[in-house]
Amino acid sequence: MEEAIEKNNYTDQEKQQLVDMEFMPHLRALYNFAYKLTYDEDDSKDLVQDTYMKAYRFINSFQKGTNAKAWLFRILKNSFINEFRKKSKQPAQVDYQEVEGYYNSEGTEKPSSTTDLRVDSVKNMMGDEITSALNSLDVDFRTVIILCDLEGFTYDEMAKILDIPIGTVRSRIHRARNLLKEKLAGYAASMGY
């Protein structure tokens, strides 16, 4: 998904303006995204600082007036994958693109979204239950729900942020939501909803 990048030559003052007006307003969203990826305050701070430093270093690649939030999220996601994921002693990840390819292939029966979750039980759930269910998802599934539902990115923007085809974005969201519903159905049953 390589795109031709037109280089700018911003002055120091223009760079400062871009940071203040275009980048800094997204600090809260970026910090929350970082926290939901790392679950650690110090790592989140490092990741966000690293994101802003990289954004500044490559600021001439940023086109004024384009989607700064999507650009910053993409930098943060790449930093997380390249540096933080390597550092953390996570077990080997499943290659979901492979799994998604399998589910998307013709003639393959998709897993059914069999949940007995009801609208009323979702309405009655507390924020902690929703957050716990979301946090319990694998990072790849958690990420698409955060980007789509919390941050309001379009599928096209998500494809660019995550560097995956739009079809993969779609199938990953479907799978993520089905997994989330399964988790929440478990909570609902245990709470007697």
Partner: protein, 92 residues
């Protein structure tokens, strides 16, 4: 538009799609990724299918719950200043 999507659109237009395919359309609609004609196909199907009405309501409620009930972290007070300082130091 890929071939798969073209075929799916034909199925929606002619009312030949099954409920599982309408679930895909429900996601597109709640995520604001659908065209007006796709929304029309879904509305037409919902008049005939209570199961998909329930599915749409559940997906809408779930999305709303994620948006409104997810716990947000407070940004550390010193983070913005620390970023600005680092940027200032890196400027020649």
């Amino acid at each position: 538009m890929g071939l798969k999507q073209y075929v799916q659109n034909v199925k929606f237009r002619t009312g030949m799609a099954n409920c599982r395919e309408y679930i895909d359309l429900i996601y597109d609609v709640i995520d604001n990724q659908s065209s007006p004609s796709q929304e029309q196909y879904l509305r037409r199907h919902l008049k005939l299918c209570l199961k998909c009405v329930d599915a749409l309501n559940l997906e809408k409620e779930l999305k709303k719950a994620i948006q409104l009930k997810s716990v947000h972290q407070e940004v550390p007070k010193d983070l913005a200043d620390s970023i600005k300082n680092k940027i200032a130091k890196s400027t020649p």
